[in-house]
Symmetry: C2
Subunit: 209 residues, 2 copies
């Protein structure tokens, strides 16, 4: 898909003109609808995506269970693709769009050269590694130190911030997947949280108090 350099620059203002010209020549833009899997386990990476607009969620999973690792928002990138692309190894996670998303795709083959040449790009990936490292640490801590009710109480607050909505319309099944547990557990704990007055059921979803 052809695109304007100016458009990319509006999302990634730190990128210099020379880098943008290279990206325009070798990269591409992809529009992805909501709920589409854009990366799966075992997949080898040819292009590394940067999210320009939208929201992508990143999961780890086995046959029976899955767990949300983090969200990739606007002007953020996918470290797993980057790392898998550079080292030519398969992905260990899967990623799915949570909103309609516009991706900027960078060819993995050029990245090694680009990150050496353009500090702005280098910095972006360092920032992303930092961010994901922190988020994974948070995930580990919450898995290890917190009980379900606590995790379930924090979860919609995070999500609410991320999506800018006060009332969240979520399937119990989806929450269960993101927290790595079962649907019945969510129903049960949600009821308990409502009794404790921490959450309220509303037409259209759940409100956090």
């Amino acid at each position: 898909m052809p695109f304007e350099i100016a458009e990319i620059k509006s999302y990634l203002p730190a990128f210099g003109n020379e880098l943008l010209a290279e990206i325009a020549a070798a990269g591409s833009i992809m529009e992805v609808p909501e709920g589409k899997e854009i990366l799966r386990e075992g997949q080898y990476i040819k292009t590394v995506p940067i999210v320009l607009l939208g929201l992508v969620k990143v999961f780890t999973r086995t046959e029976e269970k899955e767990l949300l690792l983090y969200y990739i928002g606007s002007a953020q990138s996918c470290i797993m693709s980057f790392s898998a692309g550079l080292t030519n190894s398969p992905s260990r996670i899967f990623a799915i769009t949570e909103e309609p998303t516009t991706l900027l795709l960078l060819p993995a083959a050029k990245l090694n050269k680009w990150i050496k040449q353009y500090p702005a790009l280098n910095e972006l990936f360092y920032q992303q590694y930092n961010l994901r490292y922190t988020e994974m640490l948070n995930t580990i801590n919450s898995l290890l130190f917190e009980r379900m009710d606590h995790r379930l109480h924090n979860y919609p607050q995070e999500k609410s911030k991320l999506k800018g909505e006060k009332i969240l319309n979520l399937r119990h099944k989806e929450i269960a997947a993101e927290l790595g547990t079962a649907r019945e557990v969510i129903t049960r704990v949600l009821k308990k949280l409502e009794q404790e007055g921490k959450i309220r059921h509303r037409p259209g979803g759940i409100e956090i108090i």
Copy 2:
């Protein structure tokens, strides 16, 4: 502590002479005995360590519980210090030497300049981020998908590889801390594993079968 450029080069052969000269001028070497805490939560970082020789383990913890995240071995670095040093934010983890360890300390203030200037250093940190990302993902997966007996069976195998010893002499309490559980649980599960013939008690420690 003064030191020889040649000595550092023997541990980090990818580093060029110019970088080594800068490190010799601004960095320092520190010898740390076994069992010493070298980084704690909340601490701000002035120097980023690279392990030349020895073994450092990195933990997350609360008052009641802790969990091993990963080991930092020879020619590896501590991403948490690096990230905390660059962004001037406090450490979220703590690190302790498991063996007598020689550290090369790089001043955080110079790092930002150095990583732009010396691709070898830049590459080292990318590699480390990749490595830790993978290890944290493994940790998450094992916390989420595996039961204690499985985790406790894998654990000494990893450790055995890392330390090059076939028979491991470990306190149950130490194993418990690394796996984020209680001492009694380790005793119990270890007994079960021995009954299943997966492990054997030996004078001097535990042998994995």
